[in-house]
Amino acid sequence: MRNRIRELRVERGWSQADLAEKLEVSRQSVNAIETGKFDPSLPLAFKLSRLFGRKIDSMFQDGE
């Protein structure tokens, strides 16, 4: 699944470590999500949604 997490993070001037701290996960997890190696669960997707002030479907695309 493609996503815009990296783009949104960089827009805000946050490092991966900053985002990891806000989400209460590791930097490794943030990197895995950004590179598409790992798709977050709904609770984590909602957390990202609240953090970036965006709807979930505007941050994640299923590639179809």
Partner: protein, 151 residues
């Protein structure tokens, strides 16, 4: 990736603490049971009871891992731990089947005691190191520029 206790999550710290206690308990129970068997030469049910006693810390170790999986809030890490456990389980199952096949067809040799435990821990460690290399993160400055992770 340097190992930093302060950066570890609460669940992982608890796992390490509980895991250390369980491993020490395993050593104590195993050595005590061996000492007892060596001194008293028990037979029959008593020997079975002692053998069962040494399995309790192993079960406690699995319970510790299960508790960690319930407490870990980092779902990506949780997934990696589950995969490592699967590799460990696969290695043990393969070892047991291999050994069983050899014995079934007349092999009379023996392997070191508790070899399955060593196989399980080794497979888990190899899987953990492999996943760590596969998922290593770029320097934060590079990630800041959006240059991407190592695939």
């Amino acid at each position: 990736m340097a190992w930093n206790w302060k950066k570890l999550g609460a669940a992982k710290k608890s796992l390490i603490r509980r895991g250390a206690v369980v491993l020490v308990a395993y050593e104590v129970v195993f050595v005590a049971a061996m000492f007892w068997v060596d001194r008293t030469k028990p037979a029959g049910p008593m020997l079975f009871v002692l053998a069962l006693l040494t399995t309790l810390p192993v079960l406690a170790f699995i319970a510790t891992l299960a508790r960690y999986l319930g407490e870990e809030v980092d779902e990506f890490h949780r997934q990696l731990v589950v995969r490592c456990l699967l590799w460990g389980t696969a290695a043990v199952m393969a070892t047991v089947c291999f050994h069983g096949f050899l014995q079934l067809f007349g092999w009379r040799g023996s392997w070191p005691a508790a070899v399955e435990l060593g196989v399980f821990l080794t497979a888990m460690l190899v899987a953990k190191l492999t996943y760590r290399v596969q998922n290593r993160v770029p320097a934060d400055a590079d990630a800041m520029l959006g240059s991407g992770g190592v695939r």
